[in-house]
């Protein structure tokens, strides 16, 4: 389940509205989410949630569900 908060950050970075994002959504399926804009999405998510991802963690992301789980795990580690 993708949170409304994560959806809003991603869609705002990509300048999209009304686009549905689910656990299995791939970046390649979303207009504007290409290899060059991927880093902008990652940086926006990090900034919004106040978390930091390591390169190896970013490289393992396969879909939006993976990104949600990574955000959740980072938030759970925050004091």
């Amino acid at each position: 389940m993708i949170s409304d908060e994560l959806k809003a950050v991603i869609l705002s970075t990509l300048k999209l509205d009304g686009w549905d994002l689910t656990d299995t959504t791939l970046a390649a399926e979303v207009p504007g989410w290409d290899s060059l804009s991927h880093i902008n999405v990652v940086l926006a998510v990090e900034k919004h949630f106040g978390v930091r991802f390591r390169s190896a963690e970013v490289l393992k992301l396969k879909n939006v569900g993976d990104l949600q789980r990574l955000v959740d795990s980072k938030l759970a580690q925050k004091p």
Partner: protein, 580 residues
């Protein structure tokens, strides 16, 4: 470069000599995030290539046949590429299809390419088998079959055994001559517009030798690169040059780098690399997007040259890059630039080692009228960055429309004659004839000379360069033309400068009779999706009313005229200028 070996012969001869002379020296370091790198020594690389080569020969691949290589970047790619050369075949590394590229479009592209290049075999992955299989035996394709050298047992077992299989064991692996074709490179594009550039062993070997001398390459040098190997900068500068000169190259998967750009600097720091090539957008991206935490322990003091190439060099991005990484040890004199293209093997001009690119502040108004008139640096000046001096073996003319040579500071088309020139586009005599005049290659680039420096400032051709990749507007216009709501034939694609990105973005202007805002929003999305289907990212969509677009004398909408018209109107009319 006194200690670098520079004998003649075929490329394979050179690799063989390097391996015989220093079998245990590092050749390729395949760098993976979060994993120990795979380190190929010269000896191990050539042995594995020989084994692969015998397996390729046993699988029916013959001398002179073109082998398209469509695989994700992986540690076995290097010996497999070399194996094609060893077998006398002609390798052509092609881009691995992005998941967003429609399979039908991917096949169409390969079919178109096959008709020109005469692709004989595809060396690929099982994951693409279903997509590629329809290409075989449909009567239109030249492709004889698919091979899966990283997955099939007939390849893997022999590679793992470390023993060359028979019956090819007794046969000579190399039957090539210096003048034989070594490799085939394709310009970008998706619908068969790609132009295949064929280069011989001798041409590539002589070029990397001369270019290496100009760069003062020594055995202490190491190259680090994230560049794709289907691009001339990745293939020639970052793979052929080090393999031929016997220096190591550290290779990073481009898909990994673009997600984690700090990988390049991490690898440079750990491996003490000295040379790298980057398109301009990467200077901007690395300066803006890498976070300090990702640079812990990174020092860049080993870097001798970071060479800006493949896109117009932008002053702002070079400065941004230097200011960001100088505290990490990057030296000012390590900044460098180059002007290169596949048609001349690679480099034509280059800044000498130890000298940052010259800059020239000019009056932008005079520049638009074809004169680079120096002015004091200030807010209105355009700062042009030199792409360096001619490397030995290359000649440049800057000419006007009547092919008259122009003086220093006068802007014209750049023509090149070079000892490392291609022999023409393979099976494309009409394109070759249009590209070469009296032995001079017409680059389609605009530039000027100032002293011994050459400045490239724009393009005559309509090609759009996004992050170092060439996009043909025709490809994009063709797919948008078919969309419901777009008036057929009334679409123009063009590049728009994006200063923050450090490159161009692709814009579309399309005529439509639609006036309902909901329908127009749907059409905009349909246009963006049509771009995705051919793996092209469209950033701006301008929907305009019927009869808005200006036609050229040939009756087609003129790209340059409509680009100017749209950008002018965007400023004055907010209702038509709908940007995403």
């Amino acid at each position: 470069m006194s200690h670098i070996h520079t004998s003649v012969g075929t490329m394979w001869d050179r690799w063989r000599e390097n391996a015989d002379r220093a079998p245990d020296s590092a050749a390729v370091v395949h760098w993976k995030a979060g994993e120990a790198p795979r380190r190929w020594t010269c000896g191990e690389l050539i042995r594995t290539a020989e084994i692969y080569s015998a397996a390729l020969t046993n699988s029916g691949i013959e001398k002179g046949q073109v082998c398209a290589i469509i695989v994700r970047h992986n540690a076995l790619l290097y010996p497999m590429y070399m194996a094609c050369v060893s077998a006398g075949a002609i390798p052509a590394i092609l881009a691995y299809p992005n998941p967003r590229l429609h399979p039908e479009k991917f096949r169409e592209g390969l079919e178109g390419m096959g008709r020109r290049s005469g692709l004989d075999w595809i060396l690929t992955e099982r994951a693409l088998e279903d997509v590629l299989q329809p290409l075989l035996g449909d009567g239109r394709s030249t492709i004889k079959g698919l091979h899966f050298p990283f997955e099939d047992s007939n390849y893997l077992e022999v590679v793992q055994s470390g023993v060359r299989p028979g019956p090819a064991q007794s046969a000579p692996l190399i039957t090539a001559r210096e003048s034989d074709p070594l490799l085939l490179q394709h310009s970008s594009g998706t619908t068969g517009l790609q132009k295949p550039v064929l280069l011989s062993h001798q041409t590539v070997l002589e070029h990397v030798t001369e270019y290496g001398k100009f760069l003062a390459v020594s055995p202490q040098d190491k190259i680090v690169s994230w560049l794709p190997l289907y691009h001339d900068m990745g293939l020639i500068a970052a793979l052929h040059l080090p393999l031929a000169l016997g220096i190591p190259t550290i290779q990073i998967d481009p898909f990994e780098w673009v997600q984690a750009p700090s990988l390049l600097l991490e690898a440079m720091s750990v491996e003490r690399a000295t040379l790298t090539w980057l398109p301009n957008f990467a200077f901007s991206m690395m300066a803006d997007k890498i976070q300090e935490e990702d640079l812990e322990g990174v020092t860049l003091d080993s870097c001798r040259m970071v060479i800006n190439c493949s896109e117009p060099v932008r002053y702002r991005d070079q400065e941004k890059f230097f200011n960001r990484f100088a505290p990490r040890g990057l030296k000012r004199e390590a900044l460098a630039s180059c002007y290169a293209m596949a048609e001349t093997t690679f480099a034509v001009t280059q800044t000498p080692p130890g000298r940052e690119p010259s800059t020239l502040a000019v009056d932008p108004k005079s520049l638009s009228q074809g004169v680079a008139r120096p002015v004091a640096e200030g807010s209105t000046a355009r700062v042009c960055v030199s792409s360096g001096e001619l490397i030995p073996g290359c000649q440049i003319r800057v000419v006007d429309d009547e092919f008259n040579d122009l003086d220093d500071g006068r802007v014209g088309e750049v023509l090149i004659k070079s000892s490392f020139m291609f022999d023409g586009y393979r099976n494309y005599p009409e394109k070759t004839a249009a590209a070469i005049r009296d032995g001079w290659y017409l680059t389609g680039d605009y530039g000027f000379r100032y002293g011994s420096d050459y400045y490239i400032i724009g393009r005559k051709k309509d090609i759009v360069i996004i992050a170092g990749n060439n996009i043909y507007p025709e490809d994009v216009e063709a797919v948008i033309n078919d969309l419901k709501g777009v008036i057929p034939g009334r679409v123009v694609a063009f590049g728009e400068e994006d200063a923050e990105f450090g490159s161009e973005r692709l814009s579309i202007v399309a005529e439509t009779p639609l006036t309902d805002e909901g329908e127009r929003r749907q059409l905009r999305m349909a246009i963006i999706k049509a771009g995705m289907g051919i793996d092209v990212s469209i950033t701006n969509v301008y929907l305009v009313p019927p009869r808005f677009l200006v036609k050229s004398s040939a009756g087609k909408p003129s790209r340059s005229a409509n680009r100017e018209r749209v950008l002018r109107w965007r400023e004055s009319d907010t209702t038509m200028g709908t940007r995403r």
